[in-house]
Amino acid sequence: MTDNQALFLARQKRYFDTIALKKTDRVPVVTWVDTFPIRHYGVTMKDALADHSILDDVWWRYHQEFEPDIGDSPYFLFGFFNISKTLDFTLLKWAGHGLHDDSAYQFVESEMMAPDQYDWFLSDPSDFMFRHMFPRVYGSLAPLAKLPTIAASYYFFTPFIWAALADPVFQDVGRALTQAAAESAKTLGEFVSFNTRIAEAGWPFPIGAMTQAPLDVVGDYLRGIKGMLVDLRRRPQMLLKACEKLLPTMLELGVSGCKQSGVPVCFIPLHKCMDNFMSQEQFEKFYWPTLLELMRGLVAEKISPYLLIEGVCDQRLPVMIRDAPAGMCIYHLEGSDIFKAKKLARDKVCLRGNIPVTIMMKGTPDDVRAYCKKLIDEVAPGGGFMMDTGVNIGDAKSENVKAMFEVTREYGVY
C-alpha cells in the first residue's frame, strides 16, 4: 500500500467512524471551501469560473497546502456554471455573468409555479418540468412551452405531434441542447478526473449525491419562499400533496447518485427549516414528515443523510434529533446552538460546525482558535463531531482557515 492509499483509508475511516459516533484518533476537520481557493491563490473569480483548468489548479493546491481530512471538488457546484451558460439559465448570476468580476455567484429565487398550477404539477411533474419550468428557467428552451403534452401520444393518435417541431425555433433549441450535452459530458469528465486525482493523492470525497427536503423544493424552485409560506394557510392540502409527490423523486435522486458515485453520504441542505419561518406545529406537519421519510429511505439503502441545517433551528432540533436514525446522520449546524444540541445528539447524530463565518472573515486567528477549542471541549467529547465553519470558508481570511486546521489537528486529539 502506498502512503497515499494509507492516508486515504485513514481519512475515510476517521470520517465514517465519526458519522457512526465511534471513537476516532482525533476530531476531523472538514469544510466546504466554496470560493476560498480562488481568492487564496489570487486568481480572479471571473477567470476561475470560466476556465476549469484554473479551478483544477487552485483546488489541487488547496489540498496540498491545508491537508483537509476530506476532499473537495470545484465541480460539485461550479461545474454547473458553464453548462448553464449553454442554455441561458436565468436563475443564476456569477462573476462576468450579471455580477462584478470579483463577486462569486448568486441564485435568484422566484415564484415559478402559480397557485393554480398545483394541479398540473401534481398530475404530471415531468410534463410540468418540460413544458413549464424548462422554458422559463432556460432562455434557450423557451420554445418548449409551445409543445403539446406527450402524455397521451399513443402512436397513431397523434401523428401530427411532430409538426410542432417544424417551427424553425426548434433548430435553435436543438443547437443549444447539443452544446449543453457536450459541455455537460466534458464537465462530468473533469469532475471524475479531479476526484480520481485527489483520491489517488489521499483524499476521499465526502458526499455522493445531493437531494432536498420536499418542502424546500416547493419553496426554492416552485412557489418561491413567499408563495410557499402563504400556502401554509391558504393551500395547506396542496402543499402537503406536493411534498408527498416530490418525496419518491427526491429519494431516488439521492439513492441513484450515491450508488453511481460509490460514496454513501447524501447532502441535504435545509433552506426553510428555520425557527422563525413557520410555527413548530407547521414544521412538524409540513416540513419534517417528508424530510424524515427521505432520510429513512436513504438509511434503508445504507446511505447517510448529511443535513446542512441553515439559519437558527434551535426549536426544531429536539424533534430532528429524536427522530433521526441513530449513528447514520450528520447534522451540520449554521447558527443553531451546537453546545445545547450536543446534549441531545450524543447517541444519535454526528454534529458538524459551526465556527461563525463572521469570526472566520473578520476575527483574528486567536478568535478562531478560542472558538475551536470551545467546540472541541464541549462538543467533541465522546466522538460524533466534525470541526467546520457554520456555512463555508468562501470569504474567510486565509490565516483564520489555517488556524482552524492547525488547532483542530493539535488540540482535537482524543
Partner: protein, 207 residues
Amino acid sequence: MDKITAAMADMLEDELLALTDKYLADGKDPKAILDAYQAGMTEVGKRYEAGEYFVSELILAGEMMTAGSDKIKPFLKGDSSSGPAKARVLIATVEGDIHDIGKNIAGTIMELAGYEVKNLGEDVKTSVIIEEVKNFKPKLIGLSGLLTLAYDPMKAVVDQLKEAGLRDSVKVLLGGSQIDEHILKYVGADVFANDAMTNVTYLNSLV
C-alpha cells in the same frame, strides 16, 4: 370595526375581505376600516414578537393588507393614507448582492407600521445611497445583504456617511441572516436585525 381588526389579527383572509366588501357597500367610513386594518397589523406584529406568529404570517398579513387597501382606497376621497408617516426610511441591498426577499418583506412591514419607505432595490452603489440620504433625508437607512460579501459595501456606506458629515443625521441598520455583533462593530452601524420585526421595534424607539 373590531371584527376587521380581529380577522386581520387572526389571519382570517376570506372573512376579512368579505367584511371589507360588506362595510364598504354599507357606506361605512373607509378611513375607519383602514384604521381597523392597521390595528390588526399592530396585533400581528405583537404576536410575532411574542413568538406566536412567524415570517409566514408577516408575509400573509402584508398580502391581506395590500388586498384590503386596494378595495378601500377608491372610497377614500383625497385622503389616501391613514395619517402622516411616522418617519422616513431608506432601504437598499448593498453593492454586489442581489438578494431582495428579506429586504422587501422588511420594507412592507415597516410601511404597514406607518413609516414612509423608499426602496432603492438591489446591488445599489454606495454613492447612490449617499445621494439618496441627502435628498430623501431618512431617519434610518436599512442596509440589506444575505451574503458575506455585503460586509465591506455596508462598511463603505457608513464610512462615506461620515466623510459627507451625514453620519449623525441618520441611524444605520444592517439586515440579513449572516449579520451579527461582529459585523455590526466592523461596519460601525447602529443596530442589526435578523428578522423583519426588529426594524419596526427599533424605529418605534426612535420616533
